[in-house]
């Protein structure tokens, strides 16, 4: 596609809805500013009701923002109706036209654009080839499996060569295995076409697998934006840390700073971890520890007591109490390791570098 790639920019976007029960207005999206680079794959991730779908629907044009302006490339698009916007959406329910076959579904957008018949045929076939549905063009959509229907929906969106591709939780109606296959497919196709894609999901592993950048939303505002690694290793707050992967929170008072290390008092024991900027002795800090970053041993680390020990196949799942704090951890490849039983006292060991200070 020779088309110039376009990014999307949201400037101070807000959307206000009325609560149907109380009749009160509330911000579904509040003062959100985002820049999505041309050609990048960005995921809007968050729990239900966080405003991610509303944001996507504002970009598509189905909802109108109450504050702010949306730009496609450099062009403000607030006043454009969805049919005039250079975006194409893949819907959660696929939303294929049930009275058309696969070919006509994919060709629909091209017909509306009055593309000549021969060209329609050529472009549809090429796209169907890309989504690996060649030979299916005569089928009715209800004769297709969920995964195939989603490929048709994707093909239909791609064939009109939009500037931006929008995904509204497209895989949530598929079973777990197919979800994994399809997300690799979506990533492959997006990379092949090089299109800007905005993807809404509540599934963090989907977000991780797909995205160049993840935007985490909570209660209508952006909580954090960054690469998957940044968000996983350096969450800005407890919400992000807890939402992406599993997280343990250890709280401790900063005793002193020495040679770039912070020495904290955690549940009565001293713990030395690499310090971050602007730390002040005497203040309370929260430490994030990922379950896979720690293991149990007979010495070193923090004293703890096992309250749950459970074999999960690829790992042994432990719950331990460090003082009054519950810590969950996963000991991978447990076959040849010593298994701690419930009630045993032992030590919780982890590398100081794997701890992130909020």
């Amino acid at each position: 596609m020779e088309k110039v790639k376009k990014g999307v920019r949201l400037e101070h976007i807000s959307k206000i809805y009325q609560d149907p029960k109380t009749g009160k207005d509330f911000y579904a999206v509040k003062d959100t500013s985002l820049t999505i680079e041309p050609g990048s794959f960005v995921t809007l991730l968050g729990p239900s009701g966080c405003g991610k779908t509303t944001t996507l629907r504002m970009i598509a044009g189905f909802e109108s923002p109450d504050e702010g302006e949306i730009y496609l490339g450099d062009e403000p698009i607030n006043e454009l109706t969805p049919n005039k916007r250079d975006t194409a959406m893949v819907f959660q329910s696929y939303a294929l036209l049930p009275h058309y076959n696969v070919f006509d579904n994919v060709a629909y957008g091209l017909k509306l654009r009055k593309v000549p018949k021969d060209e329609i045929r050529e472009r549809v076939m090429k796209i169907l080839d890309l989504v690996e549905l060649s030979g299916m063009e005569g089928r009715m959509t209800n004769q297709l499996s969920g995964g195939q229907q989603q490929r048709v929906a994707l093909a239909r969106a791609l064939v009109i060569e939009p500037s931006v591709l929008l995904f509204d939780e497209p895989l949530s109606n598929l079973d777990a295995k197919l979800r994994v296959t399809m997300r690799t497919e979506i990533r492959r196709i997006q990379q092949e076409v090089g299109i800007t894609a905005i993807y809404v999901t509540h599934d963090q592993s989907e977000a991780m697998a797909l995205s160049d950048n993840i935007i985490i939303m909570n209660k209508g505002v952006v909580a954090q934006m960054g690469t998957p690694q940044e968000i996983y290793y350096h969450p800005v707050n407890e919400f992000v840390a807890d939402f992406i992967g599993e997280a343990n929170f250890l709280r401790g008072k900063l005793q002193r700073l020495e040679q770039g290390n912070a020495v904290l008092n955690v549940e009565g024991s001293e713990l030395s971890v690499p310090a971050r900027e602007n730390m002040k002795p005497g203040e309370e800090y929260t430490l994030v520890l990922r379950p896979e970053a720690a293991h149990l041993a007979d010495q070193g680390g923090l004293p703890c007591k096992v309250v749950l020990s459970c074999f999960m196949g690829s790992y042994q799942n432990y719950h331990v109490m460090v003082g009054n704090t519950l810590v969950k951890l996963e000991e991978h490849n447990p076959k040849n390791k010593r298994i701690y039983q419930v009630g045993e006292s032992c030590r919780l060991v982890f590398e100081p570098e794997s701890v992130h200070i909020l």
Partner: protein, 569 residues
């Protein structure tokens, strides 16, 4: 928080769509002019008399003993008919859903539910008189009773119950099917007898639905004009009193005030039904049946119930069959043989039958597609789009459901005979075929809209959004996506509108001018005069036309209805 920008943008996006804007404006004009305005003018006319604004006219009509009696009569009949129809309907629905029936009885049920749809509203009154009246086939010739009178209170009650109970039966059948059988099985499992299960589980769940059926019938009954007209005798109801006030006493202001009273009663009932009972019915019966119900095979339950219902159904069918047979007797009440076709001959030779059928047929044929398309557009706007006037459009088109035909008829007379607000503007409309077509459209619009709305609600909103997103404007979305998806609903709306129009009488009888001969009006006239054979002949041909239309629709749907294929998914 200011939602101004969002609203302004929504408005701008709407304005960018001229076809949509035009459609909305045209719709609002139509609804205002032909539903709201005639009702408004009734209010105005009944408050503004010769002596200026005041309650003078109301005082006058409430001083008329026959009017106050008519109110009492109407409410009493509505109440009794409502209860009887709901009960009979419940019995039929229960037997159909819960009892294993043989094919023959099932067929009888189907015919019974179908008959009131395809027949003109007053057919049962005709056959009631012919079977049980003074010269009735059953009363005089089988039982030798010479002075049986079917005219009056009981006549109306029986005829209306037989006419309206199939509606209750269909409504309750739908609800019963939605009751999850495991609820009842759980009660059985805990030791309840079948009767206790019915009383403790089924009936309480169904109660709002029964209330709903009762009110719907109640509204139908008090709005009914044709049956009380034919079989009421001197027992007047509101609808007939209003009619006589305008055609007999030429008291248009009085009739307007009476119409307002009738309208208030139906509106009140409608409001209760719509906002109270409908919501409750939906709330208690949301669950889908998780699996098939174990049908009752127990002979002590099955045989009496089936036999009773089968006899009832057979009786209703017999009543309907009586009409074509009646048209074939040489002289009703005196000479039954040999059967003759002379009445049909007379219909066409002496009584302008051909013109009557042509007029009725043509007017209905024009009204039907207009109604069907209009109701689909309204449903689309109401279900799929958001804009400011949406509430208005939905409310007014539903309001038409609560307006009795007689009221609408009086409203049109008052509203259009002297032009809009008696100014002479649009005066040319009155007395034309166009106004008859408009009345047909308005009378059938609510049914069509209702079926359109429920069909559209089943379609995932994102299907249309996806088409919109692909670049189609509203008009394209409607034509290429919405309409094909609700083809079945559109077709059935088309036929329903046609059937309702060609069998309509209550509003039309007030508005029709001598240049148009309408079948229903003819039937009414001959029945009034006592020429039952002629009335039957007209009615028979009418039933054949309507039944033909329904058959045609079913055939059409079988071969061209794509929606079914999609639903099978």
């Amino acid at each position: 928080m200011a939602r101004g920008q969002g609203a302004a943008l929504d408005r701008k996006k709407l304005m960018a769509d001229p076809i949509m804007v035009t459609t909305i404006v045209v719709l609002i004009t139509f609804l205002t002019l032909f539903i709201l305005y005639p009702l408004a003018i009734l209010l105005v006319d009944s408050f503004v008399g010769d002596g200026g604004f005041g309650f003078g006219i109301f005082k006058r009509i409430f001083a008329m003993p026959n009017f106050t009696r008519a109110i009492g009569n109407t409410l009493k009949i509505g109440f009794v008919v409502g209860i009887l129809s709901a009960l009979v309907g419940l019995l039929f629905a229960y037997v159909e859903v819960y009892v294993r029936m043989n094919k023959f009885v099932g067929g009888l049920f189907k015919v019974v539910s179908m008959l009131p749809v395809v027949s003109p509203p007053f057919v049962l009154s005709l056959s009631m008189i012919m079977l049980f009246g003074k010269a009735g086939l059953v009363t005089r010739f089988l039982l030798g009773i010479y002075d049986n009178s079917v005219y009056g209170y009981w006549g109306i009650v029986v005829v209306q119950t037989l006419t309206f109970f199939p509606v209750c039966y269909m409504m309750l059948k739908g609800l019963l099917k939605n009751i999850d059988p495991s609820l009842e099985e759980a009660a059985r499992d805990m030791g309840a007898s079948r009767w206790r299960v019915f009383m403790d589980v089924t009936l309480p769940l169904l109660l709002p639905g029964i209330g709903n059926a009762f009110l719907v019938t109640f509204i139908e009954s008090i709005a009914d004009f044709a049956n009380p007209m034919i079989i009421g005798g001197s027992y007047d109801t509101l609808a007939t009193t209003i009619y006589l006030q305008i055609t007999g006493a030429y008291d248009k202001a009085g009739a307007a005030a009476m119409a307002v009273v009738l309208l208030c009663i139906t509106l009140l009932m409608f409001a209760v039904q719509k906002y109270f009972l409908e919501a409750k019915t939906a709330a208690t019966l949301t669950g889908k049946a998780s699996r098939a119900r174990m049908l009752i095979e127990d002979k002590s339950v099955k045989i009496p119930l089936t036999v009773f219902c089968a006899l009832g159904a057979a009786f209703v069918i017999l009543m309907y069959i009586c009409v074509p047979i009646g048209a074939c007797f040489p002289t009703w009440g005196y000479k039954f043989f040999p059967l003759t076709g002379k009445w049909f001959g007379l219909v066409f030779s002496r009584y302008h039958g051909f013109k009557a059928f042509k007029d009725s047929f043509l007017l209905s044929l024009i009204a039907a597609p207009v109604t069907a398309l209009l109701s689909m557009i309204i449903s689309y706007l109401v279900v799929k789009r958001k804009f400011k006037a949406k509430g208005f459009i939905e409310a007014v088109s539903m309001l038409a459901m609560a307006v009795p035909g007689t009221v609408l008829g009086v409203g049109y007379i008052r509203g259009f005979s002297g032009g809009i607000f008696h100014t002479g503007f649009l005066q040319g409309l009155y007395g034309t075929g166009l106004i008859l077509i408009i009345v047909f459209v308005v009378r059938s619009l609510p049914t069509g809209t209702r079926s359109g709305i429920s069909a559209l609600r089943q379609i995932d909103k994102s299907i249309e959004e996806s088409a919109y997103d692909m670049g189609a404007d509203s008009f394209r979305v409607f034509m290429t996506v919405t309409l094909p998806l609700i083809k079945d609903s559109f077709l059935s709306g088309l036929v329903t509108a046609f059937v309702r129009s060609i069998t309509a009488i209550s509003a039309i009888i007030l508005l029709v001018t001598p240049q148009f001969l309408l079948i229903t009006v003819q039937i009414n006239e001959f029945a009034e005069k006592g020429s039952f054979s002629l009335a039957c002949a007209f009615a028979t041909i009418l039933i054949i036309i309507t039944y033909g239309a329904v058959l045609l629709m079913n055939l059409f749907m079988k071969y061209f209805g794509t929606s079914r294929k999609i639903k099978e998914d």
